[in-house]
């Protein structure tokens, strides 16, 4: 009789569909990746097509330190999730704080770079195709970093207030997935803008 449908209470089936939070975040990441792909394609397509200067070679320098900060924040956020899984709330807070700090350093680095480009090199979004594609691509990524930082700060806030419990570890994992994505995008952006495009 086990093959009759709609049988209530026959719980001999083990049923563990994937968690919806994770699935939802993966979907969001795919959609965001599609957006980034378009901006990256536009950037690559317009490399060397600017009608006037300045060119990337003139003005861009490799943001090695801030990139290292951002990439290592992926490790720290992962550490925060595993700490929460083991119910070590304090350790989780510590790792979260490190992540926010590293992300903040990266953002400050970008801000400094932009300030330098605008005021010392006179490159704005209207200057030429390089300015157009550079500010929009890096800006899009920076926007994602900002969103991620806001969410991470909220998580940190809850964690510090002790409201973050073991059963929230899945939510934190969803957030960490987003952060990993932001980091992964930076690897691509870095390669395209600072290596390929220079």
């Amino acid at each position: 009789m086990s093959d009759v449908a709609l049988a209530p209470g026959s719980t001999n089936v083990t049923w563990n569909p994937p968690a919806r939070g994770i699935v939802g975040m993966v979907c969001l990441i795919i959609a965001e990746a599609a957006i980034f792909v378009i901006f990256i394609v536009a950037y690559i397509y317009y490399i060397g097509k600017s009608l006037s200067g300045p060119t990337p070679k003139d003005v861009l320098s490799l943001p090695i330190f801030t990139s290292i900060c951002l990439l290592s924040s992926s490790l720290t956020v992962h550490a925060a999730v595993s700490a929460l899984r083991r119910s070590q709330q304090h350790l989780c807070s510590l790792w979260l704080a490190t992540t926010v700090l590293l992300g903040g350093i990266f953002l400050a680095g970008t801000a400094h770079e932009w300030y330098d480009l605008i005021y010392n090199h006179g490159l704005t979004i209207r200057t030429n195709l390089f300015g157009t594609t550079f500010y929009s691509l890096v800006g899009l990524h920076a926007t994602h970093v900002i969103v991620g930082l806001i969410l991470l700060s909220l998580a940190l806030w809850f964690s510090l207030r002790g409201q973050m419990q073991h059963h929230h570890s899945e939510k934190l994992e969803v957030l960490s997935l987003y952060w990993h994505f932001v980091d992964a995008v930076w690897v691509v952006v870095f390669l395209v803008v600072y290596v390929l495009g220079r």
């Binding site: 209470g9 049923w15 569909p17 919806r20 973050m164 059963h167 899945e170």
Partner: protein, 296 residues
């Protein structure tokens, strides 16, 4: 973003006080309005954008407080009125299940590799008359091959017979791709369809199909490949087609043993597997079905 709700639904379907559903909330619509106004400000006035920003911020906070640390739910009364699922329709005979789940007819059918093998064998066989023709007419076995390849190379359209008689690596590759692809595809088709024509497989595969194909190609070749059209020798073309059909049909036929008398008596649509109504025609023969006919 947690799985509590899922687990809850699955493991405790029957609660005394009814069910828990997410409670209604105005924050999504407020947030949507806020974001919409934020953008609307770009075509109207900055004040609209500011209003939108404020709304969006308020709504984000409100929404956030609803789902964190735990999601808001409200209980819902269950009206215990079981839904009856029934039908007045009776069952018909089902065809018995074969060795694989989608097998309908109680016979062996082909495997995909059969058709591919047949296609390759047929394709090889087809090259023989083509090469003979080339040798007889142009004293070069490469002529037919290059002619076929010219279908894929635009620059060869004005090529001379002498050019076509030489060996060209590009020609070999192009001809191999075109010929190989079509041979395998046609072989697959033979593998799939020969069991549907069980009575005279060799006639069907070896003569009918090639003649049909030649007819179609004859009318289309002028557009598909004018260079081929100018030089094609239809007698030899048919010869090589029949070579393909005979060899491919033979290979497929060797491996697909489906021509039991019982199977041959079935109508075409049943042999093809799109029809299961064999009861009318076969009710005298015991087909060993596990579903009993309830209509008589």
């Amino acid at each position: 973003m947690n799985s509590e709700e899922v687990e809850f639904q699955v493991s405790h379907p029957n609660q005394e006080h009814g069910l828990q559903l997410p409670s209604p909330t105005a924050w999504p619509v407020v947030l949507a309005l806020g974001v919409a106004l934020l953008l609307t400000g770009m075509v109207t006035s900055v004040m609209v954008s500011i209003l939108g920003l404020v709304l969006a911020f308020l709504a984000s906070v409100g929404w956030f407080r609803q789902v964190l640390p735990d999601e808001a739910h409200q209980p819902v009364e269950v009206q215990a009125e079981p839904v009856q699922v029934s039908t007045t329709r009776r069952l018909a005979t089902r065809l018995p299940e074969g060795s694989t789940s989608r097998k309908i007819i109680p016979v062996e059918t082909f495997r995909i590799t059969t058709g591919i093998r047949g296609g390759i064998a047929g394709g090889a066989a087809m090259a023989v008359p083509a090469a003979i023709y080339s040798w007889v007419k142009y004293h070069s076995i490469w002529y037919a091959m290059n002619l076929l390849a010219a279908g894929g190379f635009i620059s060869w359209i004005g090529a001379s017979d002498a050019f076509l008689s030489e060996f060209h690596l590009r020609g070999l590759l192009a001809a191999l791709v075109i010929h190989g692809l079509t041979s395998v595809l046609v072989g697959l088709l033979y593998g799939a369809m020969l069991p549907m024509f069980p009575r005279y497989p060799i006639v069907t595969a070896g003569f009918m199909a090639p003649l049909l194909l030649t007819g179609i190609l004859h009318s289309a070749i002028a557009v598909v490949s004018p260079i081929l059209n100018d030089r094609i020798d239809w007698f030899w073309f048919i010869a090589s087609q029949i070579a393909f059909g005979l060899v491919c049909g033979f290979v497929v036929n060797l491996q697909a043993k489906v021509r039991t008398p019982q199977f041959q008596a079935l109508p075409f649509s049943v042999r093809a597997g799109i029809h299961g109504d064999i009861h009318d025609r076969l009710h005298d023969e015991s087909t060993d079905s596990d579903g009993e006919d309830t209509s008589r």
